[in-house]
Symmetry: C2
Subunit: 411 residues, 2 copies
């Protein structure tokens, strides 16, 4: 089986490396005589690279090469990846991608074309890097109705939060270290503003609940506003702050989907997920909670997930895997304003008694949190579970100056 790679960056070169390093066992598991990369598309030059002879700058060299049965797309971004992947599928080639932006934006369309052409379009590496999650959801948990999925889906923000939680470092300092270590881009906005996690929860929600969910349907909030005081209040509550992407099935055929910082209880399996690690919790009606943990990014972990998909394509050349979801539908994703959670609020006040009286009048009984070293004239409390709409109305009337609002989970 001949394989092409489009995009020779970190993941693409890792795919070539894993295919070479573990070639004997990969070929055997693929039930092929040979598993071989014969073409690599990249606009850059890689002089002296061991795969130098395979490079091309012309996509047609892959598209028109009938010997190539599987194309790996590790370019990233929607364009031109979408056009290239579409053309490959239409030409009867199976495609494996690690590109979450592409799958979140165009997953339904590409799955449909793959189905029509009886080829595979697989994307295990697009969520959770090397962690097996797409296939376990679609196969192992197939006997379940999945009720909820929630995860730490972005390693960069989790690294920053871990530094804030364990070392008391400020967001800005932690971000600088993440950039120095190569975990964060020079422009870190896709990570720290939650966009990357948003794409991943779109893919997971589409897979778990059956209809495509697009990024612009998902309320997304990053970690740029998290202060060390919030981290301390979370500790006082008995937990930690994590950036969580989550999606929930509602009774009436609707779902919710959201990315935001959240309070997580210390004893949760998600609480101990530190540094650049990712973890994904799936709640099924028969199985209860299962959690998948591992490296959510990085060259070889992500490449190993891509290559596992390549092996699966090679094993399913005659009959494609049944796999995918339906088109998006209107009013499928409920507004975040209608989702109920408890809310954590950090706020300052001019008059403590007046502030607490107004909070009691508006929210009823709340849980006050305190920690040693808290700022003067500041309070932290957790409300009962109410909708965002109700919360926003009430907090606007409270006799306080709001510093932070963070949602509280039950896992």
């Amino acid at each position: 089986m001949n394989i092409a790679i489009m995009g020779y960056g970190v993941v693409g070169s890792g795919v070539a490396e894993v295919l070479k390093k573990n070639n004997a066992s990969i070929t055997k598991r693929s039930m092929q005589d040979e598993m071989k990369v014969t073409r690599i598309l990249d606009l850059r030059d890689f002089p002296g690279d061991e795969n130098e002879a395979l490079f091309t700058k012309d996509f047609k060299d892959i598209l028109n090469d009938e010997s190539i049965g599987i194309v790996v797309e590790t370019m990233g971004g929607v364009n031109p990846a979408y056009d290239f992947v579409l053309d490959c599928l239409k030409a009867g080639k199976s495609v494996v991608t690690s590109n979450k932006e592409l799958v979140a934006a165009k997953g339904y369309e590409l799955l449909k074309v793959a189905e029509e052409k009886n080829v595979n379009f697989l994307f295990e590496a697009s969520v959770g890097g090397g962690i097996p999650i797409i296939r376990p959801i679609s196969q192992c948990l197939a006997a379940n109705e999945i009720d909820e999925i929630a995860g730490i889906l972005n390693g960069t923000t989790n690294f920053i939060l871990t530094k804030m939680i364990n070392d008391g470092m400020s967001f800005e300092d932690a971000l600088k270290i993440a950039q120095e270590l190569g975990y964060a881009e020079r422009d870190p906005s896709a990570d720290v503003e939650g966009k990357d996690a948003c794409r991943k929860i779109c893919i997971l929600a589409s897979l778990c609940f059956g209809n495509h969910v697009y990024p612009d349907e998902v309320y997304t909030e990053g970690i740029t506003k998290i202060a060390l005081a919030d981290v301390e209040y979370a500790k006082a509550w008995g937990g930690v702050i994590k950036l969580i992407g989550r999606a929930t099935r509602y009774g009436d055929g609707k779902i919710s989907a959201m990315v935001s910082p959240a309070f997580i209880q210390s004893h949760s399996q998600l609480a101990g997920v530190d540094d650049v690690f990712n973890a994904i919790l799936v709640r099924g009606d028969a199985i209860g909670d299962v959690v998948f943990y591992g490296r959510g990014a990085g060259k070889l972990p992500t490449a190993s997930a891509v290559v596992a998909d390549v092996i699966d394509c090679a094993k399913h050349t005659e009959r494609r895997k049944f796999f995918g979801w339906e088109n998006s539908i209107a009013d499928y994703v409920v507004s975040y304003r209608d989702i109920k959670h408890p809310f954590f609020v950090r706020a300052s006040y001019a008059d403590e008694a007046a502030a607490k009286q107004s909070i009691a009048d508006l929210f009823g009984e709340v849980e006050y949190l305190t920690y040693e070293g808290a700022a003067a004239n500041e309070l932290g409390f957790i409300t009962a579970a109410i909708t965002q709409r109700e919360f926003d109305e009430k907090i606007a009337k409270a006799d306080v100056q709001v510093g932070s609002v963070i949602r509280v989970t039950d896992y």
Copy 2:
């Protein structure tokens, strides 16, 4: 597709329940017109059961019924399950089992027959209950050479250890509670002596490393000798005691496999796995460490894993899944005496100075542990990594009376 269930106990009745409850989505995912239980084999009577019309006491009613394509074996034990499963496979029926004893004892033989007959023999539920593990290892991690696998594989012992660790309860009291809650059998030996975990690590080692590993090749030690003092020393060290089944690939084509209590560091993903939950850590050369966490037993979790396999059988009626391992080979599993770890030792002494001098002379530098409330004339220490053989020789010469010996892990 017609389905038969052999053994209507906790898991078997759960399979019937899940197939009924989620029938519409299961049928769709199976790409069948119908997924229906048409026969149930059990020697007991179930008067008034909703499936009463389906019961038979005669295995031939299943074997000779050509309309039955998939047989679920949830009887447990090797006999007569082995004969029944073998006959079903030979008759061209796919078999799904949750029976770890059967797979650990006869997995290779049954996989071989399934291959010859081009049918499926699947057993996701035999390890980790509802946790997806067999399929992720064989598919998602297929691009990796797996170097090590380690897990909390038995919920009963993990429940007992959790009570000892969190509540300071003695082993005997914790066992009694486990029995009252139905987590432990009246004869708890298969659990507390590690036999159940041993069967599971045999299955995982066979799958990860390629040759069948039998229970009698695996050094197995249970938790009956763990004292509360050991739990306290583990805390002083910065960790917890868990019953761990683990298997490691050696450089020279050999492996190790063992079940024993072990010290686990607090920050490990395995340390926070409490009560009846299970977790399995897989260490691959490309992916690093991944951990799978969830309910390792229970009616619906285990049934959901069985039904996922049933769906997979229904989807692969024409072509079986490539899946399995080779026959056992001689001298494949190295003796536990040749495996290196650090060892924790709890011991009493007559003369402290003499005891410590003898330990220094024999083991070189060791790490002494202390905790408030330790017994008089008792010490706890951790050695460097040495083989069991070396350890046994040395400890026999030390000027102490040994109370406990527990292995120390690096995860």
